[in-house]
C-alpha cells in the first residue's frame, strides 16, 4: 500500500499501484498513472480506451475480455500495446481506475 498526492488529496494505491478506492479516480490520476505505465503522452486514442473501459465496467460490473475490447474500440492488440506498453490489464485498466483484474495468471 502506498499513497500519492493528487490535487492535494492523498490517494491510496495497492501494492500494484491500483486505486484502493474506485471513487478516487479522476483525470489527474490518469496522468500520474500514465507515467508509471510508460505512456508517454495521453492521446485521444488513450481516452477512447479509458472511457470505453469505464463504461463497460459500469454497465457489466466487470472488465471486458481483451478480444471484446479490441472489437469494440476498433483497435488491434498491437495498437493497444503501442498505446499501453504494459498491456491492457496492468496498463489500460489501471489508468481507467478499474479494480485490478484477477483473471488467471
Amino acid at each position: 500500500m502506498s499513497f500519492i498526492a493528487v490535487e492535494g488529496k492523498q490517494v491510496e494505491l495497492d501494492e500494484d499501484g491500483f486505486l484502493v478506492e474506485p471513487s478516487d479516480w479522476n483525470e489527474a490520476i490518469v496522468s500520474i498513472f500514465a507515467k508509471s505505465e510508460d505512456v508517454e503522452e495521453l492521446t485521444e486514442e488513450h481516452w477512447k480506451v479509458i472511457n470505453y473501459l469505464r463504461e463497460y465496467f459500469k454497465k457489466f460490473g466487470m472488465a471486458p475480455m481483451v478480444r471484446k475490447m479490441c472489437k469494440d474500440t476498433g483497435l488491434t492488440l498491437k495498437q493497444i500495446y503501442e498505446l499501453f506498453p504494459t498491456g491492457p490489464a496492468k496498463g489500460a485498466c489501471k489508468l481507467a481506475g478499474l479494480p485490478k483484474p484477477t483473471g488467471c495468471v
Binding site: 478506492e21 466487470m62 472488465a63 506498453p85 479494480p99 485490478k100 484477477t102 483473471g103
Partner: protein, 353 residues
Amino acid sequence: MAKTDFGPPDFRELIPPVIKENYGKWKYHEVPQQGVLRHVSESGAVLHSVRMASPRLVSGDFIREISDIAEKYCDGYLRFTTRNNVEFLVSDANNVDPLLDELDDKGYLVGGIGNVISNIVHTQGWIHCKSAVTDASGITKSIMDDVKDYFTGKIALPARCRIAVACCINMCGACHCSDIAVVGIHRTPPRIDDELASKICEIPNTVASCPTGAIKPNPRTKSVTVNQEKCMMCANCTVVCPAMKIMNPAKDGVSIWVGGKVSNARTAPMFSKLAIPFLPNNAPRWPEVTDAVKHLIEVWAVNAKKGERMGEWIGRIGWERFFTLTDLPFTNQHIDDFTTAKTTFRSTTQFKF
C-alpha cells in the same frame, strides 16, 4: 524497446552430437541398471542417460553443481525430465560408472526408471502461491524420504506409480490423473468482506466462478452471498474475488486420491478417485499423509499382479475390495454429487461383499 518475441534458445544447439546425429533414428533402449538408460541407434551409436533425483526447487549452487558434473562426464550436456529429474546425457560409455560413483559420493539419488516411484510432480505451496492450503514441497520431501527405496529400485514394485502433490484443488500438478495424488482441501465455506467486495469484486465473474451455483449477487451490499449448503469449498471464488477468504488453518486439510493414469498403455487414461477425504495438515512432516501414502503403496504392491498400475489393480478387484484391503472407511464424501454423479453410481448387481 527491448528485444521481444524471439522464443527460447534452439534445442538443436543444446543437444549433444550423438543426439544430433541419431535424431529420429533411435532403435531401442535398455536399462542396464536402475537410473541408467541405454539408447541404441539404428546406426549402432549409443547414448547413456543417467537419471538423478532433484528437489525441483533448486538453488544457483545446484544449477552450477550439475553443470560442473555434466561438463566432467557429458561434455556439458544434460536435460531435465518431465517429472523434474535431471538426466546426464553421457556420450562416452566409459563415463557412466565414474559419473554414478561421483553422484553416489555426493549423496545424490539415482533411479526413477521403469516400474518405480519417480519424482513427485508438485506445486508451489506456501513458497509462492497465495492459494496454497498446504506446502507441496514439504509433503513431497516427506513422502519421498519414506519411499526413496522405490525410486532407487531397491524395493521392486508391480508397475510404475506416479505420485503428485497439489496444494489446492486447482491441482497445478495435474493430480487428477495420478496413481496417487495428495491434494490440499478446504472444509469450510468462504467468508466475504462485503465492504471490500463492493469496491473490488467483478461480481458477474465471481458468480460464474462457482461450480455449484452457490453464489448470488447481493444488490444491497453490492457484494455477493454464498449459499452454505451448496458450497463445496472449492475456493474458486476466492481466486476471482480478493474479498472472499477461505483459509482456515484449523479445518483445512489434505485429501488422497488414487488410481489415475495418463498413458494409453493397455487402458485408457483414468482419473484419480477419492480414497481418503481428509487428513490433518500436519507440518513439517505430515506423518498421517506419509503413512497413508506408504500404506496405499504397500497394499497395492502386495496385491497387484505384475504390470498392474494402481488403477488397473483396482479396476480388477473393484473399489469395494480396495476399501476392504486398505481398511479405509467409505464415507459420504466418497459419493459423487457433482454434475455427472449418476454416471458413477453402480448400475449392476455385480459387486463383491
